[in-house]
């Protein structure tokens, strides 16, 4: 995608972006990144105004591709979450850019964010990062505030690693606080490979190992499509001395009677306090609600994203989870079931989300099913999420 970086000024050629056409292939030859589907339309207006002002920079800037950078960052550090990787990628973009005015910089960040989002099939989580970055820049470059452009830019450029370490420290804090939810004798049901939940449970296990009186069991819901990840989580917990039972996804309802609390991670936390998380979270939430068990979500607040899904099919991208076929089309596999298009990758746990990943199927768990969100800022009710977002956006 060299052409993206070496583009010339192109002000209003794509004045009315067509959402449905925002597939990557459509924009293959275009120089302007397409708008993100499902993104707040207010931003699209701005997106058409300017373009990547890197042409003058020459040489170095041509090599920069935000999508590649994003994937590289994720691959380099398995502990990195998608929003933070997006922020890091944008910081690298700023390093490369020669933008000298506030508007230029904001516009560059904006167009590149939109471009990045358009190239990642499920961009919900990373858009939390790009949005946060943009809002931070906008509010700190606000003429009414005292932040001056050079200082803000310098701060962002020089503190890239700091943001990563803060994000990781946030996870530690969630783990430290959230472990108190795991009481002695309790049975925790979890699934997926959330790093926050993993950290939380291992903290709780540490507490029991170090003489604290917390002996708990974990029921882990195995995911066939992600067998290696599931096994890694389970063995990590067992290594800590936590008794783990593994159950298939079909046995969640059966097991719920033995469960004291459900603890899951999230890819994104949406405006109403619901969560976007690994496929299967929604049904676990429903079953927990039916059994009147607390359903806790451990997620960092940089995963809060300004999105308001109305239902499962309103996430802004097509997951192809439900695909109707007949024999003639030859699409159905031998059981006639089209499983979610998730390719088992043994290396996943070491390096999540490398470019070739097909969509990791996710679902939307509405806020009514969430008992509380454990964030690094404390335990929030789902309704508190919107206020955090409002504080950032207005």
């Amino acid at each position: 995608m060299d052409d993206t970086a070496s583009t010339t000024r192109k002000t209003s050629t794509i004045s009315s972006p067509n959402y449905s056409a925002a597939s990557p292939s459509f924009y293959e030859g275009s120089t302007t990144p397409p708008p993100l589907t499902g993104h707040p339309p207010g931003l699209n207006r701005m997106a058409t105004v300017g373009n990547v002002p890197q042409s003058g920079a020459g040489g170095k800037s041509e090599a920069f591709d935000i999508v590649k950078t994003y994937h590289r960052l994720l691959a380099e550090d398995p502990e990195l979450t998608m929003p933070v990787a997006a922020i890091e990628a944008l910081i690298e973009l700023l390093v490369q850019s020669r933008a000298v005015t506030v508007f230029e910089t904001l516009d560059l960040v904006k167009t590149q964010s939109d471009y990045l989002k358009s190239r990642i099939p499920n961009s919900i989580s990373l858009s939390a990062g790009t949005d946060l970055f943009q809002r931070y820049m906008i509010s700190s470059l606000n003429p009414r505030s005292t932040g001056n452009f050079d200082a803000v830019r310098q701060h962002l450029l020089s503190n890239g690693r700091l943001f990563v370490s803060r994000a990781k420290a946030g996870r530690e804090r969630i783990a430290n606080y959230g472990r108190h939810f795991v009481r002695d004798g309790s049975v925790v049901l979890t699934h997926g490979g959330s790093r926050v939940v993993g950290a939380l449970l291992s903290k709780a296990a540490d507490a029991s190992a170090s003489g604290g009186n917390v002996r708990f069991n974990v029921i882990y819901v195995m995911n066939d499509a992600r067998n290696s990840e599931s096994k890694a989580v389970v063995s990590a917990l067992r290594a800590k001395g936590v008794p783990v039972a593994t159950i298939p996804e079909g046995a969640v309802g059966y097991a719920m009677g033995k469960v004291d609390l459900v603890m899951v991670g999230a890819e994104g936390v949406v405006e109403n306090g619901g969560i976007i998380s690994r496929l299967g979270t929604y049904q676990i939430g429903l079953l927990a609600k039916a059994a009147d068990k607390p359903f806790y979500v451990a997620a960092e607040s940089h995963k809060f994203v300004r999105l308001y899904p109305l239902d499962q099919f309103d996430l802004g991208f097509d997951q192809e989870v439900i695909k109707f076929t007949t024999e003639d089309e030859g699409e159905a596999d031998e059981y006639g079931v089209k499983t979610p298009r998730v390719v088992e990758r043994p290396e996943y746990f070491g390096a999540p989300d490398v470019p070739e990943t097909p969509i990791e199927a996710v679902d939307y768990t509405p806020p009514g099913l969430v008992t509380a969100l454990i964030t690094e800022g404390g335990v929030l009710t789902p309704s508190a999420v919107s206020e955090e977002l409002i504080n950032v956006w207005w």
């Binding site: 932040g147 700091l162 009481r183 607040s301 940089h302 509380a372 404390g378 309704s383 955090e388 504080n391």
Partner: protein, 491 residues
Amino acid sequence: MPSLSTGYAPNLGVFLKSLKSQQLEASIENLISLLKRRQIKNSRPCAIATAHLLLRVVARFKWTDVGKLLERIQEVGQRLIQAQPREMVVGNIVRRVLGMIRDEAKEDRNEDASDSASNSQLSSPKRQSSDLGHLRNAGGPPTAFSPLRFDSKDVVQAMDSNSDDSFGSKSSANHRPPLITSHTSYAVTNNVPVQHSMFNLLSAMPSPLATPPGVSSPQGRSSVNMSSVAHRAAASSNDLKAEVISGIEEIIDELDQVDEQIASYAQEHIHSNETILTHSSSRSVQKFLLKAAEKRKFTVIVAESYPNDHEATHAAVAGKSKSSLDDSDDMDSDTFLKPLPKAGITVIQVTDAAIFAVMSRVNKVVLATHAVIANGGLIAAAGARGIAKAASFHKTPVIVVSGVYKLSPEYPFEFESLIEYGDPGSIISYHDGPLVDSVEVDNPVYDYVPPHLVDLYITNLGAHAPSYLYRIVEDHYKAEDTNFHNPEFQY
């Protein structure tokens, strides 16, 4: 054991009188033992006693600096909470006072803007200014902290509205400047200028990688304080002390008036010819109903809440003086409350067993509380959950009447731990030897009612949905005070 040298029959009124004559330390010990023996019990008396005691603590405090005062209050608060952890209002009042002192101190500091460098250090534990400061000051020179002054106005305003008696919901809405990223947590740690906002990930901190030692602990804070405060301590400490004292007095006033303020919303919620179900005896609920009865005719069904509170409930219905039953309450105006039937209300007294049977005829349930938790749930007299459940079965709205002072910022990890078990002798008399021998008798004093069973909270600030309570928590308590008594829950 601590001294009860006054020799009165110990209760709230006696305790308050003894405050004037006793040594401070003796008063603290006195209150601790009163709390331990439950000679002062229930939310309101505990809150009043705590507030008065803290007033004395501040008044007697040999002023050095604000950090020391905060430490002193924390220390006293810790002891009181340990004495009776289930009276959550004690902790609430201590947190209110701590937050108020922090606000006053900051206001004081901002007025004295001469040493802005140390200001910037000092003010960072204050969530509002720190966020704004960081935002505006991203990487900028320290002089850019002038926006703090702008910010301080908001904080002052916030403080005013917090301690204002009338507590108009308007003012609480006012004092939120748009970009201030407030802390929407209700289970946060103390002392740490926590990540209050999503922006904190990116914000510029005075020193990167970690919170500067000067702001991360009260000790550290006070040492920083020393430098800036000392040179003008003589000038400003008296003012500050007076302000803190008047702040505590305002909290005490609020405690006095809270029931009247809640009652003023009664006529919006109780309509003519409705049937209201209530439970146990509560001054707040009684005043609420009496206020509504000034204009409306309606029916109240009172469940007697046997065995812990039935005598008081009967008294509230029949108009017997309550003071003989609950002597810790006798200093307030309970005795002047009109019994419900005298106010023109049709009162039906039922046993607790009849609640479900009558629920189909009830238009509204009005519950009193012992404590409200920040997730929107509440702790109330035993039986409340059954009532709330029955109400939800019949789709009957449940209104909870509670002063804001009962709202606790703590997030309990297991709700069972909040429930207290009382004297089983009030269920089965110990005279009944064979029965006492052969059965186990449980007498839970409280119930936990989860938030989804409550439709509306009516506080002295107005009516709120349970999901809004986190907001009120945030307006009233500082995040760094939430777990001041329990450093284990610190991040």
